[in-house]
């Protein structure tokens, strides 16, 4: 159902179900994948995952910010930020699922929507 939160635990479980590894090793591998991506990004490299999206590091210049609560000026140092751009495949997949749920709800307002691809 919409509104739930998926964490590492569910990703590890999915890997465990998919590949014949132990639960522990599945969890380690999820961690390794995330670390490998993080490591790459920390070096300023872009990470592109086809049909999912790309993670790109952008450098931002320093500027004078403001504490919105007090109005006080605060210098913001130059920094690097990560931007994620979802691929069209991912956007389409999300919207297709959303549209089919919407349609189902319109057709059978009583029935709770079950979600599948």
């Amino acid at each position: 159902m919409a509104g739930a939160t998926v964490t590492r635990a569910q990703l590890s479980e999915a890997v465990y179900q998919e590949v014949g590894l132990s639960r522990n090793e599945s969890a380690d591998l999820v961690e390794t994948v995330l670390n490998e991506i993080a490591e790459c990004l920390a070096q300023g490299d872009t990470v592109k995952i086809s049909s999912f999206g790309s993670f790109q590091v952008r450098s931002k210049g320093g500027r004078i910010g403001r504490n919105p609560k007090t109005g006080e000026e605060v210098p913001i140092q130059p920094r690097r930020v990560l931007v994620f751009r979802a691929s069209h495949v991912l956007k389409d997949r999300i919207n297709a699922a959303f549209n089919s749920r919407k349609q189902q709800q319109q057709q059978q307002p009583q029935q709770p929507s079950s979600s599948s691809t």
Binding site: G3, L11, L29, V33, K48, F55, Q77, K91, N95
Partner: protein, 103 residues
Amino acid sequence: MIKSELIARLAERNPHLFQRDIERIVSTIFDEIAEAMSRGDRVELRGFGAFSVKQRPARIGRNPRTGAPVHVAEKRIPFFKTGKELREKLNHGQPDGEGGHTD
């Protein structure tokens, strides 16, 4: 780095696994995240970041060439917010100025 390079690096670190299994692991992870977002769920990976889905209301857009009004349906946009740890890692361990919570 693209997906195949990611798989190659993981294979190097895990010589006891078949490359084909590593491919399946990587695909499963991203597929699981995509599937969760398709359900409208949030994916929270502490220290890395969180994927969520934002809603864009229906609006009247315009054909930029003709100026004719076009109805644009309501839609969902995948969104990623970088986790605190990763944000700090990008800046080589300097604590960042932003809020401090990943949610």
